[in-house]
Amino acid sequence: MPAEEMGKVTDRMRFVFAVSSLIFLAVLAISPFKDYRREWKQYKRSYLRFAQGRPDTKRLTADYSPNIDQIWLPGMNVVDRCTTCHLGITQASLVDKSVPQPFRAHPPIPHNVREWGCTICHRGQGPATEVAEAHESTLAWEQPALPIHFLQASCGTCHQSELAQTPQLARGRKILAELNCQGCHKLQGIERPAMLGPDLSSIGTKVSREWIYKWLKEPRTIVDKDGNVTVNGYETEEEPRMPKFRLSETELRALTAYLSAQKAKPLAPYKISPAVVAAWSKNPELISQGELRFRQMFCSTCHSLAVTRAGETKLIGGDIGPELTKVGSKVNPDWLVGWLRDPEAYLPHTRMPRYGWSDEDLYKVTQYISAKLVDSDLLSNVPKLDPPTDAEVQLGRRLFTEKGCASCHLMEGLNPQKDFGPDLSALGAKNASELEFGVAKIPHNLLSYIQAKLQDPVSVNPAARMPQYNWEPGDLDAVTTALLSMKGAPPTSALQNLVVPRKEVTFHPTGSFAEVYERYKCYTCHKFNGYGGDLAPDLTYEGSRAQRQWLMEFLKSPQTLRPTLILRMPQLNMSDKDAATLADYLSMVMQHPAVNPTTTDTKQFTPVMATLGKQLYEVKYQCQSCHTIGGTGGYVGPNLNNAGGWLTPAWIEAWLKNPQALVPDSIEPRRNFTDEEIKALTAYLMTLRAAIKPQKTAALAGTHAMGQGAGR
């Protein structure tokens, strides 16, 4: 370029300058445009448009700001910007399902959303400002938002005690405990009990090697082609506690050899009196009499039997003890006699009570079990097993530890195995990158991992030692919820303070009561000061509720108070002395502080009061809708035929004032009775007396059919 032309602006340059300026301007405009088009800003504008179409626009937009909103809770480590888009979260008028998300209001829950933020419960990434980042797992944030179906897991992270509002979580925790998951895994809030599976130290004296083989191969559970869980071939809702292990033929043979050789602590042999055997063995009614006694003693309260009705086979009975349909083909008859007489001698931690047996009953019932509760085909698929060789026993012993059997089963000479499986007490806080997915074609997140592992342990890890379980879909989700809730110790002290711990309760009675209490295992079904089972009434305040004389009679001959119950208090054949010990202790110790049986004197009740009470009962309050007196009334509450002989007047008064103060989860509605009405109703109820039918003793029982329902 010549020097004189330098600095001279040519048209060409003008054009280049104009174009580049335009381009520059356009590039500059991209940024504000992109900012304007941001996801959250679109939601903000869309909310304004949405609010315009609602009748209460003013209220809906009162807190509106065009900026990012956030809930900041420094103590809890929460920065939640969710409310930037979820603008209607606290607007009561937007609670309806027809309101589109993200504007719908949060349903009313016990916590205030503004005080808790969102991610404490819903998880996900609180500070995120994009939909995908907030809800899904990203490389930088591996905890995606929890699907609503599993949300109760978050309740359980803090509420380690039981909550009524979270049935799915409670069910999951119950299943985890029932299936003895804590045998191999450390679980948050679920303690390892003293006994998980039975003590196998003398299993060789109880069952045959063939039966063990069958049990290990198919531990009762058979899943048919339709995916139904069956127990001994019968469909059931209950999952047997023993899971199915993947065992080869050699392993099966070795384990059965080892187990059938275990006879360390045999039961002392017991010989039923020859006179009884001679009197009954030829009697054609022996088996039917045995069945009658089996039913009269209410074995079915804890044990179930398969019953076929109208072509459908069902298990009927309780699930505290094992199902007994084919137990006659399982156990050695001599062992059965010894076991029934004294279960604790064989299993120190058993929950089975020590019944008071007469030789006659013992003979009849064991003969019934060995004759009727059998299946000749039970062991038909088991190959012929020769006497165990030393090599098999040695291998079996090794396998017993290697397969984790010793985690649940006690064995003489072996230390119990603890923590055989991985620690799951912080599983719910695990990131996807900490999990092994193997070759499984499932989404890489914690939820899918847990469900895949539970359904088929080898799908995510071919070398998994975990046995195979069969889950009902609802139960699988419940267990997943419970596992997701276990997030270990909270990361901040503010969160730590929010944890509602599970209350560990124990009840350690002493003296002669303790002996009888242990003998009859009252705690298997009843609760005492919060400790014990939940099958039968809580006895914590039984002394305030029931009269001592009634307790005595009831213990000796339990009558059901609720006509519809199928599971009843077993006939324990208690001696007078045992019954008196229990009745004395219950009436002296198990008292409610606010109910004093001595303050209400029955003498103050006049016939006029009782007549008024009867009218209130029948006309004004119509108590007969739930309670039965005589032949009429409802099934919901206990029958009151013998209310005067059963309840203490002080209890009736306190109960009528406020049933939930005495039994918190009682469904009897609390009503606003006046004091006069309470007195009148109590006076009426105290006039109700019905003689308890004389106890059917073993000798008498023979002539009567069962079906001795309570009441008339």
Partner: protein
């Protein structure tokens, strides 16, 4: 031309195959849907293949119903036989839309809170106002509305988005 036909045929076959396998997958999924057996859905009382999903409030209502109300307002209870047949007048089933759909939420709230006699109905319905919270009673009503047969239509406000979907 023949090649075109061939391609067309193949495409058609693929489409048919895809849609068929899609249908099959759907049918299988419907059978084992995990939501079915759980707390946040309720199977139709007369037709167990129909399942109603429940929201938070309705699910809480289901819980309260199965604890407090089921013995008289259902024909079967999880724990045993129903108490319904013992009562005169026979209480309505909770899913009885024919009876309950015409009652307002307010009326239902009152009859559960105050009992039948306070509302001119049978005294056999006891008051639950001292036992259940207002919120719990509201949730039971929400559950009633969810399972009603014939389905419940809320009284819509004309021209607003409040009316039912």
């Amino acid at each position: 031309m023949r090649i075109l036909n061939l391609i067309g045929g193949a495409a058609l076959a693929t489409a048919v195959l895809c849609s068929w396998s899609g249908c099959r997958k759907h049918a299988e999924a419907a059978k084992t849907d995990p939501l079915w057996a759980s707390y946040d859905s309720e199977a139709d009382w007369t037709d167990s293949t129909k399942v109603t999903p429940l929201g938070y409030q309705q699910a809480q209502g289901k819980r309260v119903f199965y604890q407090y109300c089921v013995s008289c307002h259902a024909d079967a209870t999880p724990a045993g036989p129903s108490n319904r047949s013992n009562l005169t007048p026979v209480p309505p089933l909770l899913n009885d839309g024919g009876t309950l759909n015409t009652e307002s939420d307010e009326f239902l709230q009152n009859i559960v809170t105050l009992g039948g006699s306070a509302m001119g109905k049978s005294a056999m319905m006891p008051p639950y106002g001292c036992t259940l919270s207002a919120e719990e009673i509201r949730s039971v009503i929400a559950f009633t509305r969810a399972i009603a047969q014939p389905p419940y239509q809320p009284p819509g406000r004309p021209g607003s988005q409040y009316s039912a979907k």
